[in-house]
């Protein structure tokens, strides 16, 4: 070859071999805010935020996972709709769970993985590995308890694992048993080391996490009162005396710390906007009126002047239009939907009511009546009612006063007080209503679902039937091979 040709050939080879290599800016996102490794602190903040805030608003419930989930408040008849009342007629027969799984549950799984695997040292920059693990496990257990309470048997042990494309659905019993184990172990895992940086919930306060975990364990244990009282009792009694204690005062109540900022506001602020046409149901207003409940003026705004009236529940569009054209109704009280209003996930009154019930069930010893009355008092205080006389007048009237010797009536009274106290936490109230049957609710007269009954669960997301077919089919076998909203979850025993 001639010299020139050799040069040309060498150049060509050089060009060809260089062609496949690109500078970094073409291969990795040059945006300094985008990283290939997760910062566990950012991830935890994200998980907490996504669990408690409203995401996209194109559907009635947006991405709501906990606070502000409207559909459940319609099911338990805290609220009804005054215009376009389709959602209170049980129209949405299936629920989307991707916001849980691919949202905070995946984030929490990643945090756990980072703090146990080879990224342990990197992760430790955001707090001790154990503290991160403990907080992430507790929050994950909390979210999974909501997921299983909503759908029943769901992917759990194989969930959030990218190497398993079609995760198996686990029996709710197994899930519950594992949740108890997780909560127990997590409480013991806090090591007093550096606090978890991204913990905007409790700012790294391990005691608060422990109280939340133990209280959650008590609530979940009581959920088994009908189906598996032995396990329920064992877990309940253990949680009651577990290290760290439980939520017993209002200062320990758990709420996401919403800010006076549109980006981090209470979802009810978004739900209600200025005056979304949803109002308290006449059932709920009448219930509160019946016992002259001092919480009514807090829970609701007057319909006219100083009087309170609810919406007739479950009418069709024409019916409700004709009713609203000549009647007014009470809407949510202003204290609940400010941007920074608390949105409670677990409260002292709720826990004390589980204590009263546990005593009545014979699970623990104690004084059910005292617990019951303290619970009411705490809830009144939580709602800004501090007048002891007013509270006393309320608790001593026949419809409220507990006679602990009449156990079945006392249990019902506890359940009713819990129903009132949980307002407007629809998801928890709906679970408790399913377990206790209290209060006795009448289904929407214009219900559009097949059974015309109040749903007992959410249907599985429709795409599971194609994307995870075998496991989905196995799961719906429990509901007569139908993705039925009338089917009952494991603990929801007739």
């Amino acid at each position: 070859m001639k010299f020139k040709e050799i040069i040309a050939f060498t150049l060509l080879i050089g060009v060809l071999s260089g062609c496949s290599k690109f500078k970094d800016e073409y291969l990795h996102n040059p945006d300094p805010n985008v990283n290939t490794t997760a910062n566990t602190s950012f991830l935890f903040t994200n998980a907490l935020v996504k669990s408690c805030l409203r995401g996209n608003a194109t559907t009635v419930n947006g991405d709501l996972l906990t606070v502000g989930y409207k559909e459940a408040t319609f099911f338990v008849q805290y609220f009804g709709q005054a215009i376009y009342p389709d959602d209170q007629l049980y129209q949405n027969t299936f629920g989307e769970w991707s916001s849980y799984y691919s949202g905070p549950l995946m984030d929490l799984t990643t945090i756990i993985e980072y703090n146990t695997g080879d990224k342990k040292t990197v992760a430790a920059a955001n707090g001790s590995n154990n503290n991160q693990l403990a907080s992430a496990r507790i929050w994950k257990a909390y979210l999974f308890s909501i997921v299983t309470d909503r759908w029943g048997d769901v992917p759990y042990f194989q969930a959030c694992n990218p190497s398993i494309i079609t995760p198996k659905y686990d029996a709710q019993k197994d899930i519950y048993y594992d949740l108890f184990k997780e909560l127990k172990e997590a409480v013991a895992q806090f090591d007093g080391g550096a606090v978890f940086k991204g913990d905007i919930m409790f700012k790294g306060d391990a005691t608060k996490w422990k109280k939340f975990a133990n209280s959650l364990r008590m609530v979940l244990a009581l959920r088994l009162s009908k189906i598996d009282p032995t396990k329920g009792r064992a877990e309940y009694t253990e949680a009651l005396t577990a290290n760290g204690g439980y939520i017993a005062t209002n200062s320990d109540n758990v709420s996401f710390p919403y800010l006076n900022d549109i980006n981090y506001r209470n979802p009810w602020n978004n739900n209600i906007v200025n005056d979304e046409p949803i109002g308290l149901t006449s059932f709920f207003v009448d219930l509160l009126n019946y016992s002259n409940d001092p919480r009514l003026p807090v829970y609701a705004r007057p319909s006219t002047g100083t009087t309170y009236a609810g919406l007739p529940y479950g009418l069709d569009p024409a019916g409700i239009a004709s009713w609203t054209s000549s009647n007014s109704y009470s809407k949510m009280g202003t204290a609940f939907y400010q941007q920074n209003s608390p949105g409670y996930l677990l409260t002292a009154s709720q826990v004390l009511l589980t204590r009263a019930e546990a005593v009545l069930l014979g699970w623990t010893t104690g004084n059910a009546k005292t617990d019951y009355e303290s619970a009411i008092t705490l809830n009144m205080q939580q709602n800004g009612i501090t007048d002891a006389n007013a509270i006393n007048t309320y608790t001593t009237q026949a419809s409220v006063l507990m006679n602990a010797s009449n156990v079945s009536d006392a249990v019902k009274k506890v359940a009713l007080q819990k129903y009132i106290a949980l307002y407007p936490n629809g998801i928890e109230a709906f679970a408790e209503w399913r377990r206790t049957g209290v209060p006795a609710l009448t289904p929407a007269p214009f219900a559009v679902n097949d059974s015309k009954m109040i749903p007992r669960r959410w249907g599985y997301p429709l795409d599971e039937g194609t994307l995870n077919a075998a496991n989905y089919n196995a799961a719906i076998a429990a509901y007569g091979n139908k993705n039925s909203i009338d089917g009952r979850v494991w603990w929801d025993k007739l």
Partner: protein, 1066 residues
Amino acid sequence: MLCTTLAFAQNRVVTGTVTDDKGDPVPFASIKVKNGKAGVSADANGNFKIEVKEGTVLIVSATGSVDKEVKITGSSNIYNVTIVKSNTELSTVVVSALGIRRSVKSTPYAVQQISGERLTQTRETDLTSALSGKIAGVKVNGQAGSKLGSNGTVRLRGVAGVSDDQAIYVVDGTIVTNASDINMDDVANVAVLKGPNATALYGQRATGGVIIITTKKAGKGKPLSIEFNSTTTIEKVATLPDYQNVYGGGNSPDPNNAWAESKYVYKAGQPIEWKALEGIPRQQYYDDASWGPKMNGQPYIPWYAFYGGHDGSYKPAAFSPQPNNIKDFYQTGLTTNNNISLSKGGKWWSGRVGYTYLTRKGIIPNSDQTKHFISTQNSFDITSKLVFSTNIGVTIENFKGDFSDNYANNTTGSFSSWFHRNLDMGIMKKLRNLRTPNGNLASWNISDDNWSTPSVAINNPAFWYNPYSWLDNLDNKTNRLRIMGDAALAYKITKDLKLTGTYRMNYRTTELKTKLPFILEQSQGTFGYSADELGVSPVYSKYRNNNTKYTEQNFELIGQYSKKISDFSIDVVGGGNVLDIRRDDSSRSTNGGLVKQDTFEISNSASTPSRSAVKNYRQVRSLFARATIGYKDFLFMDLTGRNDWSSTLPQGKNSYFYPSAGLSFIFSDFVKNSPLSYGKLRVSAAQIGTDPLAPYALEVTYAKGTIPYGNTDTLSGVPNSLISPNIVAPINTSYEAGLELRFFRDRIGIAATYYNETRKNEIVSTDISSATGYLAGVINAGEINRHGIELELNVRPIVSKNFTWDVSFNWATNTSVVKKVSDQTNLFTIYSNYVSQPIIAGIVGQQWGQIRSPAGVKRINGLPVIGMDGLYETEENVNFGTVLPNYTGGIFNSFNYKGIILSASLDFQQGGKYFSFTDMNGKYSGLTKETADINDKGVNVREPLAQGGGVHVYGVLNNGKPYDTYVRAYDYFRQLSSNNIWDYSIFDASYLKLREVSLGYEIPVKKLGSLSKTIKKASISMVARNLWLIYTKNRGIDPSEIAETYAENGQQPGTRSLGINLKIGF
């Protein structure tokens, strides 16, 4: 021996250039000796050289031109020949990949060309719209003319991938991102390359096809030419849904019982002036549907009567139909387009400069647009071997207005979905600044019928602003700047070898500024649904500033070698290219209102402002080559190969090679003395690779949030896609065959093409169970096939001295079938919007683009299943067929009588579907005509069943037995939306449209006396566009202008325009 003897007798060497009637060189023209065998071909610049004998007659011919005979006499040896084109759409050269002009004979694939002149006949300002119906296999998805600044997209040969690949536009070799950046006055020629067989050399960006635009250029040695072109058109609203005009606003199943109260009763505390209204019926102002009372002209209290300070205060009005209220809302638009261009060429240079100024006033109140185009095309011979040339274009565009056609936008989103049919638009316009007692903008949609707290009730609307008030106050401006161009240095190393280095750039910035003043926040709907383009509820006063910057650079080096060796011609092109695309976007927006009212600064945000930035860089490096070997100008073989390296593919697997081979046979050379003047058969096989992944898509990334929680940072993006680490480039393999025939000296031309193309290894983002913690998996799995036929017919039925008639017709059919998605799923989503709407899906075994509805009517043997109440039984996930048409096409006619030219273009589509959210809501809200039609008993369907009203529903019961009954209109139409029944809101998109008509007159300048020395050319014409939608199923929507391609959610109306154009050449 005889030949040699003859050759010796030929004693002259004649040279010359073949040009067309415009003076442009005709490359590769054939020069033959009459009644002899000798002959040569002109080169690419039309130059030829031949040895002849004195007195010889040469026949100069080129396809698409009328043959010309030249007798060699006299002393000059230079013969410049001008030949006249026989048919404007048949030409001798085509622009092929990389902008290389090739002889039409040699291309083994379909290329269809159209002259700039024809495209701009009706002075359409948008290239995409101008292409409608003119090229076989091109389907334009247009946008409504009312939406200034937006333009449609082009789909070529249906679809061959998961995504709806768009054709790319290439202007003088430079890829342009947006067709609206192209100045129609600069366009000389448009060539469309459709499949991989033609586009393989363009590489991975060309899988959707290529539209090559060649701009006008000056010729060397040309005298100064000045052209002035001025057009003024007016636009009127063209297409609106068919509304009912019998019942007014309200929401009651029984129109006889639809007043808010029977009569208004004055209550203590209400404004004393309202007493005057006592005893008059009130409308249900708050409910934004039209299920109200019959409009009989009876007195009622109109919305504005409650507010003081105008003519209608405290007075009743007649409850009457307003059939034209929506039409009246749209004003007359006005477009002016003025263009001037200069061109001249010297001995060693040529240059052209053009400037266009476009102004538009839109039909939507408060919308306008201005656009400046400046362009220049120049060429300089530095030496006889070294040529420098450059093309530069600058576009500056500003437009403002609210063009939202999303659900619940404040114009169409209300008019066709949520409105009162009794509203008088004239009064709405007049009272656009009417204020409520506390200073808010008043609206027809008064908040509360409850009237318990009247002072509150009349201060804020329930949902809607007065549309005029919204448009008056919203300030939405977009500024665009585009600089595009190239600079090339070409060096002729030897006579046969040329090397060209080119740098190309396409730079584009867009700035969007939105100012939403406090008055809109203050006056918003109490239910917070006053949706707007900003998508927030509640409405907060707002300032938003979005900037996008796009820079694309190409570094290109190409060598061209051509040589004739006896009967063979060899033509080789080879080179390399580096493509570099950089995207830098930033957007900032206030949140939660503004601290200081109407001070539009990001720092004035009440809550933490949102900020986001996107940086995204990609590079593709390529080496490519093409060799064409010709034999005796009748047989050609084409071979190409290209190798790309894409930065978006996994390192180590980022290289992909794809070849093509083709044959072209000009068989007419063997058919003598027949009407056939040109016959070509072509076959080819080609592959093309692509890299559909976005930059950095392979990385699992976590993005820091744009809005921290207090002082704690969070994330805005967590990975939701599982990406296979083994992703490779998908490859399309295509086979194409074609036949081109021309008869009677090219008076009739026919071209037919068949193609069959399969993409394998398509990268699909396939849904996976979200319980995995991810939503999708990205893998190489998909397979899609498309095949079809394209036909073109060009006829010149009449050619006489005074009258010519040209007709061209094109037709194409395509089928795109999804063969495989992945092992997990047989479905992928192409488009999805609202939860209750259908999605557009690819489903295995079916045509691409199935409309899949969340619900549809359950059917037994095709008959709807109904209950005893006459309402439909439903089933989930129903497919309603593909959005792709069966066939598309167009017809163009042009008549020229003594310089008066009448031309018209029609285009059509058969098949294909779209869904209409507007239609669904229009039915739900009782706005559309069918909700108030007369039934088979002669009674309006809205009247009570007892009085003969109701919709007659036929179907079968669940047991299959036929059943029919009457259903209250209110129940019938509302069930559709309530139960997501889409059967009746999905429409056939077939249409036939008279798109363009122009009537022009070529002023005979030669008769103008002394003026003719300065004026060389002049013409005047009337132009009309979107004249007549001759046929379509749902006349309320123009199916050629669907806002979101597959669907519409609140479609803005199309426009019809009429204008005048004056063209003068100096």
